[in-house]
Amino acid sequence: MKDKFDCIVVGAGPAGISAALTLVRAGLKTVVIERGEYPGTKNVMGGILYTRPLEELIPEFWKEAPLERHIIEQRVMLVSKDASTSFSYKSKQLDEPPYNSYSIMRATFDRWFASKAESAGAIIINETLVESLIVENDKVIGVRTGRADGELYADLVIDAEGVNSILARDLGLHPEIPEHNVALAVKEILALPREVIEARFNLKAEQGTAIELVGDISAGMMGIGFIYTNKESLSLGIGCLISDLRKSGMQPYDLLDRFKEHPMIQPLIEGAQTKEYSAHLIPEGGYRAIPPLCADGFLVAGDAAGLVNSVHREGSNLAITSGRLAAQTVIEAKKKNDFTCRALSLYKKLLDQSFVMKDLKKYRNFPAIMEKNKHFFTTYPSLLSDSAYEMIKVDGVPKKTKQWKIIKNFIKGRSLWGLVKDGFNLLRAIG
């Protein structure tokens, strides 16, 4: 028999690499299998990396990691057909190291992150697809890859495949993800000279902006757009629920073109050259859609476990933390030489104690409410723009009259009962 590993990690994304790094540091024999040519090639992320979770693994990582800009401004744009209302938070605090978050390019970042695990002792095997699990007496004992002589054995397998994990599905942990629980995001990297980016977004060198957009850009569907500044490019993308996309009959790239042509967006990207185009799924089911996280000899981390906070557009940080906690669980299991699901339930406990489950639980009602109530993506951004216009326009009408007109508009747009219901739901969604 071939040499056996303590742990096989499937997927070299943030979840998989964090797990591997934690495992090898504890002296466990670990291999990571990645289907891409190298870590990062298959990864699409708009690209905001939050500092804290990674710092716990690699202190002062910012001194060596390939990062783009630290984010000093977070903007939310509510977009109507030809206007937008923005809320922006910008602060000096966000401009003081250690920074809260950075824009990154996954292709370079993941490769660097993987190299850290590799130099700590993990074996990283690229260009190899894990096709299935090897199961014996209901216990996962290894994986089968697409290569000749391709079986590998281990005490434990961590599934960090990302969204739509086939391994966990085949094991019966979750069914095919329902269409209303997954968004399809399309993204472009738009090249612009550094000076142009800094002038357009009012930034100094190394500073960056993150913008989230809601409203007309998603064409009535549940969806969010984003624009992040990199050093010499913008990451721009939009994601919508697959179920909505199907109903609307719209193609994702039509949506992206529409987004880019919006009169409030176009000036921001004027003259930019599209360098890269990609599409990827995002799990949006939230807390209620999280599958069982373990089976005998098997743990699931990151997107594969649906650990994405769609309210705050966070995913990589949940992936990093869950990968680390899965690895800690493996280390404990290894000490006791017990790899049953019961012993692995420690993982769920650790997650529950961390921000991962606490945040997801807080927003557990959000996905369902938003999916059923499209007014948050259609009616409200428009009403808001109309109201702002009404208040700003100087036309001799007293402001008090204007206020009444706005209120009437809201009621006309959504009915009084609808407003009350939406307000209640919104509280419930983010409560």
Partner: protein, 269 residues
């Protein structure tokens, strides 16, 4: 049987930026790969190994990060990998590159006699197709370029039989070993290596040889040993497509008339 495969690490994209000041390649940020033409050389060596049994060594001259290309070669099934890397080797033109590689191969030859050196047809960045022949001359090996097919190798009699792509058709050649061959693209298709090869590559330490570790004259290496310098690098303007005059078999005079007419119009603008 010992086969040496020469591989060069090249920038992935054909859109490599060129430094406007120094006229040198700006490789920063461009992902590197094995020169695509050298992949055919690797697979051809693996096929010979499958048939006859052989040890295959990959060699490359380049900066330290060219180790990645060599590791990749090992993951494809290559046995050993050597990187010739030294500041003194940097900035080499084809002359100095061939010299340095020849010195490296001589060192390999001392350890384990080399029967065959396989190169790619050319590189996608330098594009000269001169390095293969340059190595052959310096080693005193036979030289077989633009090979379409290796028909037969007779190790007893030290002979190799190959089909060579020539300007006017195909040549069937017999030559003595040791030889340097450069292979055409498309002569084979790279295999999907079995998993254990990838593990071997992951654990493999590429040998790094600098000027002290091999017999080499520093003055013939790198910038010092390179009589060519790139004066200016620019994107050529694409050639305009030629105009066609169709040939009328029944009436050659008519064709001639149409042709002269076109020529006269062009000449007079």
């Amino acid at each position: 049987m010992h086969i040496v495969v020469c591989i060069k690490q090249v920038p992935d994209s054909t859109q490599v930026k060129i430094d406007p000041v120094t006229n040198t390649l700006m490789r920063q940020g461009v992902p590197s790969i094995i020169n695509p033409y050298d992949i055919f050389a690797i697979e051809e060596a693996l096929r010979i190994k499958d048939k006859f049994g052989a040890k295959i060594t990959a060699i490359s001259m380049g900066p330290p990060q060219a180790k990645d290309a060599l590791k990749k070669a090992v993951s494809l099934g290559i046995d050993e990998a050597v990187l010739l890397s030294d500041r003194a080797f940097a900035g080499a033109d084809t002359l100095a590159t061939s010299y340095c590689l020849a010195c490296g191969i001589k060192a390999l030859n001392k350890e384990n006699p080399v029967d065959l050196v396989i190169c790619g047809k050319q590189t996608v960045d330098g594009d000269t197709a001169q390095v293969g022949p340059g190595i052959a001359v310096r080693l005193g090996f036979s030289q077989l370029t633009y090979i379409e097919k290796i028909e037969k190798i007779d190790f007893e009699r030290k002979e190799i039989f190959v089909y060579r792509h020539a300007e006017k058709g195909k040549q069937y050649l017999k030559s003595r070993l040791p030889a340097v061959i450069t292979v055409l693209d498309g002569i084979n298709e790279l295999r999907y290596a079995p998993l254990p090869e990838l593990f071997r590559a992951a654990r493999y330490q590429v040998k790094a040889w600098d000027k002290k570790l091999i017999e080499i004259d520093e003055n013939l290496c790198g910038m010092k040993g390179s009589p060519t310098a790139v004066k200016r690098v620019f994107a050529p303007t694409p050639r305009q497509r030629g105009e066609m005059v169709s040939f009328n078999e029944r009436n050659p005079e008519e064709t001639a008339r149409a042709l002269t007419e076109k020529l006269l119009i062009n000449k007079n603008g």
